[in-house]
Amino acid sequence: MLCFHVCAGEIFELKAELNSDKKEKKKEAVKKVIASMTVGKDVSALFPDVVNCMQTDNLELKKLVYLYLMNYAKSQPDMAIMAVNTFVKDCEDPNPLIRALAVRTMGCIRVDKITEYLCEPLRKCLKDEDPYVRKTAAVCVAKLHDINAQLVEDQGFLDTLKDLISDSNPMVVANAVAALSEIAESHPNSNLLDLNPQSINKLLTALNECTEWGQIFILDCLANYAPRDDRESQSICERVTPRLSHANSAVVLSAVKVLMKFMEMLPKDLDYYGTLLKKLAPPLVTLLSAEPELQYVALRNINLIVQKRPEILKHEMKVFFVKYNDPIYVKLEKLDIMIRLASQANIAQVLAELKEYATEVDVDFVRKAVRAIGRCAIKVEQSAERCVSTLLDLIQTKVNYVVQEAIVVIKDIFRKYPNKYESVIATLCENLDSLDEPEARAAMIWIVGEYAERIDNADELLESFLEGFHDESTQVQLQLLTAIVKLFLKKPTETQELVQQVLSLATQDSDNPDLRDRGYIYWRLLSTDPVAAKEVVLAEKPLISEETDLIEPTLLEELICHIGTLASVYHKPPSAFVEGSRGVMHKRLPARTGSLVSVIPSHTLSFFLGGDIGGSAAMGAGFGAVPAVMPASLNAPMGGGLGDLFDLGGGVGMPLGAYIPPKTVWLPAMKAKGLEISGTFARRAGVIQMELTLTNKAMSVMTDFAIQFNRNSFGLAPAGPLQVLSPLSPNQTIEVSLPLSTVGPVMKMEPLNNLQVAVKNNIDVFYFSCQYPISMLFVEDGKMERQVFLATWKDIPNENESQFQIKDCHLNSDAASNKLQASNIFTIAKRTVEGQDMLYMSIKLSNGIWVLAELRVQTGNPNYTISVKCRAPEVSQCVFQCCEAVLKN
């Protein structure tokens, strides 16, 4: 704060006035003091004089003095004690206004010593006959808790507060709920609010009677309740629905939050579900007629709602059309929602609008509008042709930034619909010279390289770019390199010189490691095996996905639980921006009864492939397309010297051994006439081994050992005889390693990894069963290609997905990935969202079953979440146990 020094004279003057006998003069003096305080002047020197004015029956003066006290008590704790007596006396005043005022002010004085004196008056006020005093006291408990939580618990204020939830006055109920909600947040595990059907019923009743602000507290509190079944959730929804027509948008949004959350539990075929969906649309539309500030916040929320339940607003496209006088930030949000709602039914209307927007004045908005046209083309296949022709019209205008933006999106359209719109290339080439933004240049170069065989003068065009190679941005340089190599592979005879030139520019004259490495890779590839080069460079690229910028579903679920809060405006979970322990609890939508929570709906998996298939939303990375695919596809044909250069995708980790569980006793000596067998399983160099320790605890020598397995789930069988060559004398121990094959007879066991073994020796035949870690069945070639992974994940139905928690694991995601890899659990991709690392992993079992998994690691949180998806869901549990064992060792 800027502290102006008040000159001594002024202080002296005020002092005199404060001590005046005349009430009016006193009041004016206190006012002056407060005016100085507001502008940041230090008037703490007047503390004793102001406190002296406290004992007055003039309410106006009293309020002013209290205002002063709240501000300065903290800096003058000793003097603040002087005021305590008056406070305590005021708490007994016959006038409820004064009682409430005293309690309110005392709670605001954040001085420890004062809190001791506060307890008794507060206890009385909590039971006061006047609701105004009670509601003020309820808030005061929260204030006190903030200063000294222990004191509040010891004094039993929390119980009194809980009782106030059943108060007859709705204002009191609302404040009690607000105070309890806040206190509960700092004790995540306490059952303070104790929401049960009875208390919910009380809250719902109070909801109808209290002020709009109280309704918000109550609705927010309701949103935290988990109904027992769909019946209960429907009845709550029914009682909350009338709030949707409230004039206060905050009430509406809190109601929307409750409904969106509880709707999750309703079966979709229920009539009521459809009714509810219909009821949600009008209030959301109404929000758009509010002030721009509210509109913006509303649009950010609608953006989330549209992603979660597009059906709510699918008929309301028109309300998102921009008005010319909307502020730019509102326009951009509206555009985003328009694209999310675009479908075959309304695409013509949307396109007509977008085309109009592209002629507006604001450059940012025009750019986004052009981009939006491209996104429509990718999203709605039937409209692609119309979009392309719209874009061509726009290119004709020759407005520089429109042309550039259009070229960037046309590149994306080519990625989505290869070999369909090549006729427009000629038009694009005409505008080559006007491109000055790297993104547009890179896009154009990509197009030229990709369709080099159809552009007669492709070599000339690319050559012209090559002249200023060193002045280009990295993005353009990389693209140019790839484009020329493509051209060379397509027209080897004429372009030898060009490719030499670009390779030497990239490898010798550049100090950018990305560019150099890519140059070297191409160079060696071209010189060692042109056929392989062709396969790699001209490989078919994956089609880009339509949903490029959806919010990742787990995050979306969490954000839906926070509708109407700051989280929904930032589109970040509260833990990302709220400090300390408050609010770190991750909220989840309730599961629909009878079905598992699907953690990753397949359509958004495209995310983890990052730039490879991302559209222009992820443009920066988008151009990495060709090289990023390369390492994976190169591994097979090349190997050898280059192999290690390419093996980047595999994760650069230290060679760790596969996880081998410690030996356990399988057959105690007691049960087997003196033979004790302990053992474990291991996978070494691709061979499964059963490692046994045989101990002779009997008095006689043991010979003639043999082993047999019963039929088991994965067809494990000994691959050779049990190698116990010499007889086993008493008290002798021998280590035997038995190689196993997986071609034996199969029978499903319970549990799945159970193995029944028979061991024979000269004395008898003994039976025991043991469980093997399923990880020894994970084969070395279990690394799935990214695209295959994506397709497989989509393909496996969501019911096959199960989710587990791994507790107390203190590895970071890279260490975890390395550890898992040593046990043939391969990380295919990694993505980081909001400090949460997501590892996507694949596993192949010896019998050819693929298991896909997603591991989520939150920095600083020792609990991991793993989701396992497999066509044979029975193995999920075993796989999870394995991962847990691997990670913890």
Partner: protein, 446 residues
Amino acid sequence: MISQVFILSSKGDHLIYKDFRGEAGCDAVNKFYEMVTTLTGDQPPVVMKHKELHYVHIRQGGLYWVATTKADSSPFTIIEFLNRLTALIKDYCGCLSEKSVRMNFALIYEVLDEVVDFGYIQTTSTDILKNFIQTEAVSAKPLSLFDLSNVGLFGADTQQNKVAPSVAATRPIMSSRGEQGGKNEIFVDVIERISVVIGANGVLMKADIEGEIRVKCYMPSCSEMRIGLNEEFSIGKSQLRGYGAAVRVDECSFHQAVRLDEFDTYRILKLCPSQGEQTVMQYQLCDDLPTAPPFRLFSSIERDTGGRLLIYLKLRCDLPPKRSVLHLNNNPALPLFSYSLFSSLSQELSSPDQSAELQPQNKAVHWEIPRFPGGAQLSALFKLEVPGLSSASLQEVGSISLSFELPKYTCTGLQIRFLRLSPIQPGASQRWVRYVTHSDSYTIRI
């Protein structure tokens, strides 16, 4: 939960600063001003963040009204609250200005104390608050009926200030306590905002009306007010009753104090108005306007032999002849020419009281028509010299936007049938009913 509330003048002076939870320092005020003044155009200013503190603000009366929070609070709550706070303070102080806030700081602190406690919003209703507030308002402006410098009725200046004494609406609600002769007045305003998009082919592409009924009450004792709307008023598509002159809206929401027991049958709103201003009813109508949109425009754009751009506009007002439009601004946007310098604009307008000018910063031509009688037709020809004009660039001429105000007119046709107060007010009470339609976004594409 609100952590602090403060009010800043447009120059960044601290007018009011109130800390509710002691979790953030008062350096937040200066930080806020620094952030809000360095925002670039496309950054949404609504919610800003610095370190752990989130700032939500609105601008009203040339002042910044800011609330900060540390928790994941609801921005809706905060924005609604700030809007209510401005309304409250306007009610208490008469008008919103730096001066009135400065003069009434003690009152505003008192209001803030009652309205928010420990960051929890308690109430914003004047009815409840009047029991607690002790401080008298200091009126920032001496009341004078001759002071016509501030004739804004609804934010826009009007020349029809005979409609209602506009100064009367800017006095504090409570100040009448002192002077017994204070007028018993009540204002009921029906305000509609129309947004229209007319396509290049003249087809009406979109037409929305947002309306509200606002009551501003100065009466200290008014137990019940009954507002009668058109009897054939209907909500939603299904409720249309026959043909007739039905007034229809799509959606309707009411202030929570409104009792609707007579609404279904008689279309009467019953309420006990609290002192001060409140929005009693809000409604919307999309697409299905009862009448044609008020303006039609015929345009032609061509290039003459000298390479000049010719824009010929003919504007027709389709309102009944009795009505007239005030302050029509007409902005053909011309984004194409952002790169070239205009060398000149020459114009031919159909009457002398109109004016037109080129606004290079907006890339638009601004045509202003002070008064436009219903049924009339005006035309204008603009000649622009644009270096390097090509025929393709004619496509780039953007749309035309109109802004206007239609006094004594509602596009939906909503009317107040009657306004009854009970008990019968002692002394002379005055009741004013005013109608106005504003343009929100009226766009005609060419």
